[in-house]
Symmetry: C2
Subunit: 805 residues, 2 copies
């Protein structure tokens, strides 16, 4: 479809003069509020001339993109009313929150949620003062903002969030405003391709509005300075039908309203036509969804010039156009003239309430974008219909005898979770669902694919227009989708490459912060499903990928965030993984990180024992220990502790060697599933009390702790513990290349032989007697590395090692 | 310019039958080597029938994209010879390293660098065996690969790396092969816009080749399944002239070679025309650079089918087409037939050496892409011509009396660094050069901008076609450019928002690993300039950005990497920042991270003292201490330690309160600039010996350590120290919203009042006497928070606090 010129659209969708007048008045009210928020701490209705004491001491907030955000918002309002649309609004330029907060306040939601910000002069005064003010609210669309699911402080995720909101919500249209600054980021640049994953029958629609106001902080933006034809080609190439709305600062506002109204209405109708056609025919194909490119002046309707510098339509409008209002009467005058240019007395009555003829322009009730339940998705969230995870258990008649791919039973479990929740659960992963052994899910639902199908795809490509497995080689897009999906009330599971989880470190940070604020500060937000992340293809199994694929540090980052919202699990085997996943899938308001490798590993616990172990999160494995297992804390000579699948196997193998070589040595074997058990209970709700910790780890015996990740993370968590001075941690220390499993373990000293040496070196009573064993261990290391170099694999006695007792 | 159809191009640039025959033979040799690398450990020339003992036990490596990579490589070779081009090759699908290693070996470079991999049967055998083999090389274009500056294990950065290589290298053309999997990532999707930052006079050119082989691991790719017109529009929208080369598996290879040769030659000529026109006219405008879209079958020339499944041209060709060759005679037969289909006996002589008529197809000497000095950029690296950093010092007559913006003098310094190095130094930052107070650099060079100029830009947009300040709102692209620039021998400085450095966590990881391998394993690589990163706009000054902009955890990540390559500095004031920056700019092969805020801060050290302090990296500030300053380690009652600008000020203010309130209390004041001083010298080359550490921090006195970042990082570094049990660390603990500086400090207990309380609680002799002071501190906290909430700022006595002694 070729984009129609304005003229045609305006003839089809004319706006009457009366509508223009009212729409413009409403916009003036928004802009008035916007300036008020940035500048005023008192005198909200300008009942008296502005004085220094009315002005905030620190002027903070972003004016530049705000008028455009309001402009779009109120034009959407018109169509919501006209067509009874179910719509939410995502403000990519979240820094322009005043442009969102204004209309949110005017349509009444703000006062309903925060009654002291009432719709009168007093409430307006508080509404102004709180903005970007200590004890108040931030200058982005933070969780405190009704209708927001996207803070937009960090740029890049508005569009992937938007697409995530409409999965499985066929009735929803999400308007996503993308700033031209944000459009330069990588995550945003690829998120445009999300349109290839929208099924017009099953999903709702996103209406992207690229808002070109031309500038970042002090720079033109790339997309605002390329020719229109190039710009349109870009979006045609992304698979959209682009519509350009160009508003200049010299043009009359009526013309701008007419263009925007007609174009928006055309796009909404195009969306409805696409959906209607697909839904009535039952045929889901990939349409060229409409999108809008709105060129409008930065700081639109604001001061044209300040101190001889162009402001409106230039980067100088980005933040606060006049920054010294208190100290400069000239600037004070500009501010007052500016605010009065909106003629507030025509917009608000004596009490400071929006006049009725404007009030009625906004939708009401849950049709208000600020009150739409999708933007408080916890309200929709239903518990998953869960299959009994126990029935996916692998048989473990005796610990440490048999092997299984740890993630494969999880795949079977997830298949049935998906099967029982075919409207509100999806899986997300770059391209590794099969590689991660989770491919059983394809039995109930395949990969969403709206692109071209080829005949050969029938042979295992696992594609379907109604698939529920989301694969795209962009961790950013995947996590953005999932966050949008969770925030609108659904559930999901994200699995990704351990090393490359770092690609989305910053997205994790932002989501964790969002959850933290919601939990602590925003009681009206209902809890949402947790963000569940499985890190697989882990550091210890990178046989050919080598060094660049070895990084277990994502959990280091996770442990920096608030203990209210983060959880980390290292299930040692398949049954423990099932138990952890079952728990995480049912939890709320957390980021749960589970680390488990996909390859074959030794199995340790039958399902009953796995459940007990995972419920405790940490525990002594009595079958591996030969002390009294905790009855007397003084009894062991050494504590062998471990956390992580490979770490556990090596620790056990070391324990076996020690028990053979030194039968008199009393060993306590501890496995950690729930990483935060190591922190004191004063620091994390999962933390062990010092008493419990001391009972497990003793107060003075050597602890040889074999860890999956960077060893110092364990010290970071456990440094306050009584026995910390005797805590000796092994883990990954950036040693690796192309290695066999054992050789990589040896390089980083997490292998059985080095662990035995660690014990010999730390248990005084062994030291002299054990010289011979120590030597044997050194030889075993040399011999095994030589074998690996010669044969390209580990010796069978190593690969097939079993717990011998 | 409209892309010409093949026919026209082929008429203009015909390939003779003889050329086709030879080119195809060379390609067969590449493909033969490729399969050999993946499968064989012996019998490299197939002198005898394949047997199990010739086959590697573990089959690793990516066949799928390899033939295409070789295909492109050898067609580039033809043009390098024909036009004497200076060219390097970046393989985005780095997993297809066999497709690069093959031609690198054939043109002789591999044997020159690694003489045991000689150009005969024995060398070929070793060359095969080492691939993806323990003790050998990885399956990506790792640093061990001659000619590589891009490993490509993690996907997303090939194109930004490529553009970085050609900045200031007008003679260089970098061919960048982008895989269609990688093309889905965000960083890659926005890197296409890098063409807007290439000045055809001053810079070289990038020839991007989007290699659509259709599939990721088990999935079709997005770009391979959209119509050609959509695809071309996308690249027109990105500002390129796209040329499509479509090769199908059913077509004869001659036709494929003809198309590729003609299209490549046309593009090279187009590049040369663009450059020639700009250079002869002296007018640098933004051209529509050519780019190529090559559609070719995945696993091209490989087995068409294995076990009834389509392989060539399908995702099943992604890695190893037959995975059980040793155990399955049928697969063994397929492998042997496949290898023999290349007719190695026609390509290599009896000794296993490439026959002369093929050998001469490759360029020679430094014209070989594998031997081009730009791909070992350390060779080009010249020391920066450095101005004397001392002359940018701020006056500090007495410690703690005056304020300055810490980063502004650095801006002056960088201006002159730039001015003296106008061909090999650039600055990189998203959009914050002025915001970070570094805008003095614009006096010597502005922002590179090849887009449209508007009249108003003259008023402070600071744009120029020959600018050396690189600004784009994509941390990914910036860091990619800078890495490419450093790897080809230049210098640079990257400054970014502290919280959003996490956006490029994963890029840091990869670069640090690259450096580590180069330093430790690849002696023929010359050292390159360090990657210098300034984190500004730090956690403690987020007055209106609030919680989402508060994350000091980037350094946590940095400390996970090898001590050989990472350095972290927290200069407390402007002069220390100058000293650190001066040091970092002259260093090699490190990632240097400097954390310093841009806002006004108290100044502590004059330049001489700053140099001494930064050289030591840690030290007692005698003027703030009232103990004997280390002569007797037992003398202080408490050690006040600090690291970071804001942390230092609050620690000092606490010390001032303590010294007023408790004149008898002996306080030692320690400031840390070089974070790794805290680690033992056994762990990091900058680490203090235990003896030195104990002398500074005592072995038994309380240490109140005020840290800029997450407090547990200090424990992670210092947990082995003798006095660690008495180390009490304050830092950021995820508490924040819209706060005044003091209020944010109070929330996280890094403020002066809480620090005084910490001391009172930890120095036994104060405990009873200090109840009154403790109470006063509590009141001060309450009062200051109340003041902030009321006035929106801190009390002047707090904001303007000076060191009183």
């Amino acid at each position: 479809m070729v984009a129609a010129p304005y003229q045609t659209l305006e003839t089809t969708y004319p706006l009457s003069d009366e509508e223009i007048r009212k729409t413009h008045a409403y916009w003036r009210a928004c802009n008035y509020l916007c300036v008020g928020m940035i500048y005023l701490r008192d005198n909200p209705l300008l009942k008296e001339p502005l004085k220094p004491e009315h002005i905030k001491y620190r002027l903070l907030g972003h004016w530049g993109s705000s008028p455009g955000l309001s402009f779009i918002y109120i034009h959407l309002n018109r169509l919501i009313k006209k067509y009874d649309l179910n719509m939410i609004y995502i403000a990519g330029p979240g820094h322009g929150a005043p442009g969102v907060l204004g209309p949110v306040y005017l349509e009444g939601t703000y006062s309903e949620v925060y009654p002291d910000k009432s719709q009168d002069a007093e409430g307006m005064g508080k509404f102004f003062k709180q903005f970007s003010f200590p004890g108040g609210i931030g200058s982005h669309c933070t969780p405190e903002t009704p209708g927001s699911i996207h803070e937009g402080g960090e740029l890049g995720y508005s569009l992937s969030h938007a697409y995530g909101t409409v999965f499985d919500h066929p009735e929803l249209i999400t308007a996503a405003v993308v700033g031209d600054g944000e459009a330069e980021t990588g995550p945003l640049a690829t998120a445009w391709h999300s349109n290839k994953f929208i099924n017009p029958i099953r999903d709702g629609a996103v209406l992207p509005i690229l808002h070109l106001n031309g500038y970042k902080i002090a720079n033109p933006t790339i997309l605002s300075r390329i020719p229109n034809e190039e710009l349109k080609n870009l979006f045609r190439g992304y698979g959209y039908t682009p519509y350009l709305v160009e508003c200049s600062q010299d043009e009359d506002y009526g013309s701008a309203h007419r263009k925007m109204a007609a174009t928006l209405e055309h796009c909404i109708n195009e969306i409805r036509d696409i959906q209607q056609q697909a839904r009535s025919s039952g045929k889901a194909t990939r349409p060229q969804w409409p999108m809008i490119i709105l060129r409008s002046p930065k700081g639109w309707t604001g001061p044209k010039e300040v101190d001889g510098h162009k402001v409106e339509g230039f980067w100088r409008a980005h933040q606060v156009p006049m920054s010294n209002v208190i100290g400069n009467p000239h600037q004070m005058k500009i501010l007052e003239d500016w605010m009065r240019s909106y003629q507030p007395e025509e917009l608000f009555d004596e009490n400071g309430t929006l006049i009725p003829e404007l009030k009625e322009l906004a939708p009401t009730g849950v049709r208000r974008m600020s009150a739409n339940p999708f933007a408080n998705g916890g309200i929709w969230r239903r518990d998953l219909n869960m299959p009994d995870f126990r029935k996916y258990a692998v048989e473990v008649p005796k610990p440490g005898q048999s092997e299984a791919e740890n993630t494969r039973p999880l795949g079977n479990f997830l298949r049935d979770v998906m099967g029982k929740n075919m409207t509100n659960f999806r899986m997300f992963g770059p391209d590794e669902t099969a590689s991660n052994r989770l491919n059983a899910v394809y039995e109930v639902s395949k990969k969403t694919w709206m692109g071209e199908f080829l005949e050969e795809d029938l042979d295992g490509s696992e594609l379907a227009a109604d698939g529920r497995v989301m694969e795209m080689l962009s961790e950013h897009t995947l996590q953005g989708w999932l966050e949008g999906y969770l925030l609108t009330g659904c559930h999901g599971f994200f699995h990704t490459y351990e090393a490359f989880a770092h690609v989305v470190d910053s997205m994790f940070n932002q989501h964790a912060k969002w959850l933290e604020v919601c939990k602590k500060e925003v009681p009206w937000r209902s809890p949402i499903a947790s963000l569940n992340i499985l890190l697989s293809s882990t550091v210890w199994r990178q046989d050919h990928n080598g060094f660049s694929h070895q990084d277990p540090g994502y959990v280091d980052l996770v442990t920096n965030k608030s203990p209210d919202v983060v959880r980390v699990y290292f299930p040692p085997d398949a049954n423990c993984l099932l138990s952890c996943a079952n728990h995480c899938l049912q939890s709320k308001d957390y980021v749960n990180v589970i680390v488990a490798d996909k390859q074959k590993h030794l199995q340790f616990l039958n399902m009953d024992d796995a459940i007990k172990h995972c419920t405790k999160g940490i525990g002594i494995w009595e079958w591996a220990s030969n002390d009294d297992c905790g009855k007397d804390p003084d009894i062991p000579d050494v504590v062998m502790a471990c956390c992580g699948d490979v770490a556990t196997k090596e620790s056990l193998a070391a324990t076996a060697i020690l028990r053979s070589e030194f039968p008199e040595l009393k060993i306590r074997f501890i496995n950690v599933v729930d990483l935060f058990k190591l922190q004191p209970d004063t620091e994390h709700p999962h933390g062990l009390s010092d008493w419990d910790f001391d009972s497990l780890f003793t107060t003075d015996k050597p602890i040889i702790f074999n860890f999956h990740g960077y060893p110092w993370l364990i010290h970071k968590l456990a440094y306050r513990r009584t026995n910390h001075p005797n805590l000796h941690v092994r883990g990954y220390k950036e040693k690796g290349n192309i290695n066999t499993p054992l050789e990589l373990a040896i390089e980083n000293q997490v292998d059985r032989f080095n662990l035995v040496i660690d014990v010999i070196d730390r248990v005084p009573k062994l030291r002299s007697a054990a010289a011979y064993v120590r030597e044997r261990m050194r030889n075993a290391i040399i011999e095994n590395v030589a074998y690996a170099y010669e044969h390209g694999r580990d010796q069978e006695e190593i690969s097939n090692w079993k717990w011998p007792f």
